[in-house]
Amino acid sequence: MVSHHPPVQGDLGVAARWRAAAPGVVFLVLGTVLLGLARSIELPTRALAVSPRIWPEALAFGIIGLSVLQIVLAFVTTPRAATAKTADDDDEEGPASRSGIVRVVGFVAATVAFGLLWYYLHFLVSGLVFVAALTWVAGGRGIKDLLLFPAGVTVVIYVLFGLLLRVPL
C-alpha cells in the first residue's frame, strides 16, 4: 500500500517560512529605528497644537504593527501563500540565476565606478567607458559591441543632454 504525503514538509517548509518572514523582520527594525528618530526630534519652545513628533511616530507604530503581523502571517499561512506574488508583479518572474546576480552586481559596480570617474574625466570619455562596461557585463563582446555601440550611445546622450538641454555633463 502506497501512502502519499504533502509535497512541502520539514526543513524546506521552515526555510520558506523564514524567507517569507525576513522582510517583515527588516521592516520591524526600520520601524523601530524610525520610532527612535521620531522621539529624538527636538520640541520647539513655542506651544503647538500637536507635537512635530506625532506624524513620524504614528508611521513608525504603523510599520511596527504591520511588520509583526507580516511575520506572524509568514508562520501561520502555508509557505506558498506567504511568498505569493502581488498583483503588479511579473507572472513569469523566474528564479534568480547565478549569472543574473553577477550581471546585476556588475551593473551596480559599473555605475558606482562611473560616478567616481566622472569627477576626473570629461563625460565623453567617462561615458564611453561606462557604456562599454555595461555592454560587457551584459554579454557584449567585440569591437562593434564594446567600441562602436558605446561611442554612438555616448554621443547621442551628450548631444541630447549636454548640447540641447544644456545639462552640465
Binding site: 512635530p52 506624524w55 507580516q70 518572474e93 523566474g94 551584459a138 552640465p168
Partner: protein, 510 residues
C-alpha cells in the same frame, strides 16, 4: 463671442504654428526620456522664450507641457519607467499589457485617452473657469488633508491580495516623505547632515529606481540567454469596436477626476492619474483586471493626467495661483510678459484666455498625431538584443536622473532604490504604494498639522467637503469588499444548490 474669435484668430499665423510645432517636438522628446520632467524643459525653454512676444512664447511653453504628457507614456508602457511623474499610473496597466503582447493597442489607446482627457480639460477651462476656481478657493488645509487621505485609500487597491505587504510598503513611502524640512517650522528632519536631503528624498530618482532600474535588474537576474524577451510582439495597434466602447466610461471618469484634481492648487497630474485609476477600478465591472493589463485602468489614468493640464491652467489663470510646479514656472514667465493672472484676467483680457485654450487644443491634436506616427519607430528600439537594450535604458536613466538636479547624489538614490525595488519584487511587495506614500505623505502631514494649528480636529469634522471626502474614502474601501463578500457567499450558496456530477461507479472507471 467676439473674444472667442479674436482669441482663436490670433493663432492663425505661420509664426504661431511654427512655435507650436517646435514645442511639440521638444515636448515629445522630453516626455520619452525618463528623468527629464516637463517642469525642467519648460524652465529651460522659458529662458529662450522671454525675448519673444507673449503669445508665441506661451505657445512654445504650453505645447512642451502638453506634448511631454503624450511622450512620457511610451517608456511607461514599454519599459515600465514613467517618462515624467504624470505617467506613474500608466505603468500599472500599460506595462502589463505590453508584456501580454498588447503594446500596440496600449500605446494607441493611451494616446487617444490622453487626447480625450486633454480636450475635456480645455473645454472646462473655456466654459467653467470661474465657478470651478471659486470651488477650489474653498479648499483649505482640512479639505486638502481629507483629499489626500482619499488618495491614500488607493494603497489598499494597489496592494491587491497582498494587503499587509502593500500597507507596509505604503507606510514606508510615507516615512520616506518625512525626510527633509519640517512642514511647519522648516527645521531639518532625518537628513543626517546630508544637504541633498533637505528638500526631501528626490522622488524622480526613487520612481526611476523602483520602476525602471528594478525592472531591468529583474530581467537580468532571472533571464538566461536565449530566452524570449517579454516584449517582442506589439500585437494589434487599433482597438476594435468593443474595446472602443469599453473605453468611454474610464475616459469619462479619468477626465472628470483629472480636471477636478488639476484645478486644486499644488496637486499635479501624477496624483490625478493615480486617483483616477483608483476611481475607475471602483466603478469598473472588471476591477480584478486592474493592475494586470486593464485597458480601462490605462486609459482612466492617462485621460486624467492630461485633463489635469486644463485644470491647472485654469487655476493659474483664474486665481493667479499655480496649479502645479510647471505652472509656477509658466506663471513667472507670464508676469515678466506683463500678463497678470487672477480673477481680473477673464474680464480684462478674455481673448488671451481663449488664445491659450486654442494653443492647447492645437497642441493636443499635434501631439496625438505625433504619438501615433512615432510609435512604430519606438518599436524598433525594443528589437535590440538584451545587452544593448539594458545598457541603453540604464545609461539614459543614469544621465536623466542626474539631469533633474545636476546631482550625482540623485543617481546614487536611483541605484539604491533600483536594488531595493528588485528585492521588494522578489519578496512580493508592490512598489506602487511606496511612490504613493512618498508623493502624498508631505501633503498629508502639512495639511494635517496646519488643520490642527487652525483649530484642532474640529476644523476637519465641521467641514462638509472634508467630511464628504473622508466618508467617500471609507466607502470606497469598504463597499467593494462587502460586495465581493456577498457575491462570494451567493456563489457558494448557488454551488451548494447545484447538483454535482453523479458518482461514477468504480467498475465504470476501469
Amino acid at each position: 463671442m467676439n473674444a472667442l474669435f479674436e482669441g482663436f484668430g490670433a493663432l492663425l499665423s505661420l509664426q504661431m504654428l511654427l512655435c507650436i510645432a517646435i514645442g511639440a517636438g521638444i515636448g515629445m522628446l522630453v516626455g520619452a526620456f525618463p528623468g527629464i520632467t516637463a517642469t525642467m524643459a519648460v524652465a529651460l525653454a522659458s529662458a529662450f522664450t522671454l525675448t519673444m512676444d507673449p503669445l508665441p512664447g506661451l505657445a512654445v511653453l504650453l505645447t512642451i507641457l502638453i506634448a511631454a504628457q503624450f511622450g512620457d507614456r511610451v517608456p511607461a508602457i514599454l519599459i515600465n519607467t514613467p517618462g515624467t511623474p504624470a505617467s506613474i499610473a500608466t505603468t500599472f496597466d500599460g506595462y502589463a499589457m505590453a508584456k501580454q503582447g498588447k503594446a500596440g493597442i496600449a500605446l494607441t489607446a493611451s494616446a487617444f485617452a490622453s487626447a480625450a482627457g486633454g480636450f475635456v480639460g480645455i473645454g472646462v477651462l473655456m466654459v467653467a473657469a470661474i465657478p470651478l476656481s471659486t470651488l477650489a478657493m474653498r479648499f483649505g488645509s482640512p479639505e486638502m488633508f481629507a483629499l489626500v487621505i482619499f488618495g491614500l485609500t488607493m494603497m489598499v487597491e494597489v496592494s491587491g491580495k497582498q494587503l499587509v505587504k502593500g500597507l507596509i510598503a505604503g507606510l514606508f513611502g510615507l516615512a520616506l516623505g518625512t525626510i527633509g524640512r519640517d512642514p511647519m517650522d522648516g527645521s531639518d528632519r532625518f537628513t543626517f547632515g546630508i544637504p541633498q536631503l533637505v528638500e526631501g528624498v528626490p522622488f524622480i530618482a526613487v520612481i526611476i529606481g523602483l520602476f525602471g532600474i528594478a525592472e531591468v535588474f529583474s530581467q537580468m537576474i532571472s533571464r538566461t540567454r536565449g530566452q524570449q524577451k517579454p516584449i517582442t510582439s506589439f500585437g494589434r495597434w487599433w482597438p476594435n469596436k468593443q474595446e472602443n466602447k469599453q473605453l468611454i466610461k474610464p475616459v469619462a471618469v479619468g477626465s472628470a477626476v483629472g480636471t477636478v484634481v488639476g484645478v486644486l492648487p499644488a496637486v499635479g497630474g501624477d496624483i490625478g492619474g493615480i486617483v483616477a485609476w483608483n476611481q475607475a477600478k471602483r466603478l469598473s465591472k472588471q476591477p480584478e483586471k486592474f493592475g494586470k493589463g486593464s485597458l480601462e485602468g490605462l486609459t482612466a489614468a492617462d485621460s486624467s493626467s492630461n485633463a489635469g493640464v486644463g485644470g491647472s491652467v485654469l487655476t493659474t489663470l483664474a486665481l493667479g495661483v499655480p496649479g502645479d510646479s510647471v505652472m509656477a514656472v509658466m506663471l513667472g514667465s507670464m508676469i515678466i510678459w506683463g500678463i497678470q493672472p487672477g480673477p481680473g484676467l477673464f474680464s480684462s483680457q478674455p481673448d488671451l484666455v481663449y488664445s491659450i485654450a486654442g494653443i492647447m487644443l492645437v497642441a493636443t491634436v499635434l501631439a496625438l498625431g505625433l504619438s501615433l506616427l512615432r510609435m512604430r519607430g519606438v518599436a524598433k528600439l525594443l528589437e535590440l538584443p538584451d545587452r544593448f537594450l539594458w545598457t541603453v535604458i540604464l545609461a539614459f536613466c543614469v544621465v536623466g536622473t542626474y539631469a533633474v538636479n545636476n546631482a550625482i547624489f540623485d543617481v546614487g538614490v536611483m541605484l539604491l532604490f533600483g536594488v531595493l525595488g528588485l528585492l521588494l519584487r522578489r519578496y512580493g511587495f508592490p512598489a506602487g504604494p511606496i511612490v504613493l506614500g512618498l508623493i502624498l505623505g508631505p501633503l498629508a502631514e502639512r495639511n494635517f498639522r496646519r488643520s490642527m494649528e487652525l483649530g484642532g480636529l474640529e476644523t476637519i469634522y465641521t467641514s462638509p467637503i472634508a467630511v464628504g471626502l473622508i466618508v467617500l474614502g471609507v466607502l470606497a474601501v469598504a463597499v467593494p469588499r462587502i460586495r465581493a463578500r456577498r457575491k462570494a457567499r451567493r456563489q457558494e450558496a448557488d454551488d451548494s444548490d447545484t447538483p454535482t456530477d453523479p458518482p461514477v461507479p468504480v467498475e465504470a472507471s476501469r
